[in-house]
Symmetry: C2
Subunit: 418 residues, 2 copies
């Protein structure tokens, strides 16, 4: 089945909001064998919305619509849906109870604009909203499926998981599509492509299998896609390509699928019963933030320090003040002393540190913006590696955090840095 | 002038990558009076791309295309552009020099696939790429403008700023569009709407001015839009509405435009020559990460601690171990002791702290997931506020960080919490 994903909202057209709903919906549709081949975004404009509905409904089996169901005056999607399906509004008692329940939980009384959200198009199946006040709508017409959901991401996500996906899963019978992504870091796209060599050696061109290179500032992802007649067949093809890719580039692949580097490290630390302590200067807390995004990270992450000033590097971590005077705060010696200091102070198994110049100011010819030293310390060794990251302040912070986490992974797996 | 923004890439259609380019391009086009009224995303498929080009070129004055210009086999945009404009490829020497220069900077030799990126469609104006190896292309046909750029965000952004926007600015003569966004936090959408009252009291319906409510987990943004015949007229209308909104909801408005809460706080701290110290438990470094995203934050941010364990709360911050035993780590008493401890230890003017249950595990009936205490301490007062945040682990961390930063803002401005 082919799908079109429609997003509605002036805030999208003027670029005020990044549309993350599209990606979520597309990925979830894929998982039930529905393939989006177009995504369209239009504003809060009746004629534009009607045109988009018409076009999508003519050419696609499944249409998802998000946005414009809120309680304020600029939300017009519900009215346009009624016009498109030539129907009017009726009160849905379950939706009204839901509005009252949500307000009661906050010890508040709903306003009339909130209660009015329980008015829904006649002749649709109402998709109840566990997490918010705007219900969704589902229409089935001439064997085609039309889903309307709020634009608030977590409300839409709950409706997708509770209603849309279970429904579509039951309908689908055609080709099966499976993806696997291998995430790499620390190698540029063209060098990775060279390591992997000609893709014709991975699969034959007409096998229904494809490989895509997806670069980002934090690394290149390799996405294997297989379209096949059965799940088994698709998964077999993917595993075959995965093994060939791993034989050529294993050292750079830190995870597959959705797994983040911080989750991989968490698992490795837990397996070894290791603890990690972090001393951050230029990354400013970002490494600890990523580590603590993982549920259960308190098992291996005991404490972190953000030692932004020289004084705090000296007092909290025991960095010799002579090092800072002689080599500067951004130096191999200080990075090593920070990693050693945080490890010994907190009795952790592994200590890591960052010190660098995130910019845009503070750089010099000798120490330019983007220069970052990453320190590592465990009971056997203490050392630091130098990096020169490109990009603006935030990108430099992100790249430094990624490199520090990757260093921990490689040391635990005894992967050489060369 | 009306624009369509086209994005190309299978990675977008399967939801692997969130499309942030659309929002950036839309916002920038707006700033030169070009208004996007449709955004379309298609895959790496010749026919789909050709159809999208045809449709956009027929109905719009300006078309931007991003994606599919990379060096690997799955990048087909250049070939489809040649087909659409009925042309072939020629070598561009400046683009070739650029490829060589970029590789030389990394002390590497370009591969053939990299050098081939200097082949460009005949008859186009080449948009040079300062930051990467893939050049962009510009076509002008029948008074319409067609821009093709790489999908890598920072490369595209540089081309927009260096080439696309200066060019379009010179062309544009029609209506002027201006936006202003007021960012609020700490108040729900419907309550904010009630505070503001009937929008008809802000502007007349046919004035060319509109107001939109844009909710997110971190707060509701109010976007004022004015379309007018001159910049002066548009800006006058916007300022008028802004003043009316501020008179009704000033306390919740922490910034206007693109400004982030951490920038606002940075300015307030600098004005007062105050320093800030942060002790984070459940937010895990996110507050410090946000603070240090601001260039120059070292002036007022001296250090932070991520005291994830009870032991570190006691040893680093001097939280009495009796407090933890008697009230639990997630309690008013511990939040207060953490804020006081980090402030006095680091000699900062203001100390803030977070302790809470980010979930998904660790909650109880008495202390559910989402419960967060935020502590505040300065020379005059030390207190903590209780919050109950909804959402998953990451959202709870983000909401807690936002509330902590907002608390600092309100205390510096002596805004009451009631």
């Amino acid at each position: 089945m082919k799908a079109e994903i429609i997003s509605i909202g002036d805030e999208l057209l003027i670029g005020q909001v990044i549309n993350s709903n599209q990606a979520f919906i597309a990925e979830k549709l894929n998982s039930v064998g529905v393939f989006a081949d177009r995504m369209t975004t239009v504003g809060d404009d009746e004629q534009e919305i009607l045109d988009a509905f018409q076009k999508a409904f003519t050419t696609h089996d499944v249409v998802t619509v998000t946005g414009g169901l809120g309680p304020t005056h600029d939300d017009i999607t519900r009215a346009v849906v009624c016009k498109f399906f030539n129907t009017d509004l009726v009160l849905d008692n379950e939706a009204l109870e839901n509005v009252k329940r949500i307000f009661a939980r906050r010890s508040m009384l709903p306003r009339k604009v909130n209660e009015d959200q329980a008015l829904v198009p006649r002749d649709c199946t109402v998709i109840q909203n566990r997490l918010g006040t705007a219900p969704g709508y589902f229409f089935e017409r001439s064997g085609k499926f039309f889903f309307v959901m709020p634009g608030v991401p977590y409300e839409m996500k709950a409706m997708m998981n509770d209603f849309v996906l279970p429904f579509l899963k039951k309908q689908n019978t055609g080709l099966v599509i499976r993806h696997l992504t291998l995430k790499t870091t620390g190698i540029a796209e063209s060098f990775l492509a060279e390591q992997i060599g000609d893709v014709k050696n991975l699969f034959s061109p007409d096998s229904g299998t494809t490989l895509a290179f997806l670069p980002s500032p934090l690394g290149v992802r390799l996405r294997i896609t297989s379209k096949a007649k059965s799940v088994d067949e698709a998964e077999y093809s993917i595993r075959d390509v995965e093994m060939k890719l791993r034989s050529k580039a294993e050292k750079y692949i830190y995870a597959s699928g959705d797994r983040e580097l911080e989750e991989v490290i968490g698992t490795l630390l837990k397996e070894r019963k290791f603890t990690l302590a972090i001393a951050e200067s230029c990354t400013g807390g970002l490494i600890a933030d990523r580590i603590t995004n993982v549920s259960g990270s308190s098992e291996y992450f005991e404490r972190g320090m953000i030692t932004y000033s020289n004084k705090s590097k000296i007092h909290e971590l025991g960095v010799p003040s002579d090092f800072i005077k002689q080599y500067g705060a951004v130096s191999r010696q200080v990075a090593e002393a920070m990693a050693f200091g945080i490890r010994t102070k907190s009795n952790a198994d592994i200590g890591i540190s960052t010190t660098g110049i995130a910019g845009p100011t503070g750089g010099s010819a000798e120490k330019p913006v983007g220069l970052v030293w990453i320190g590592y310390s465990d009971k056997d060794e203490t050392f630091a590696l130098q990096f020169n990251f490109g990009g603006e302040r935030r990108i430099i912070k992100e790249r430094a955090a990624q490199a520090a986490l990757e260093l921990v992974r490689r040391r635990m797996l005894k992967i050489s840095e060369q």
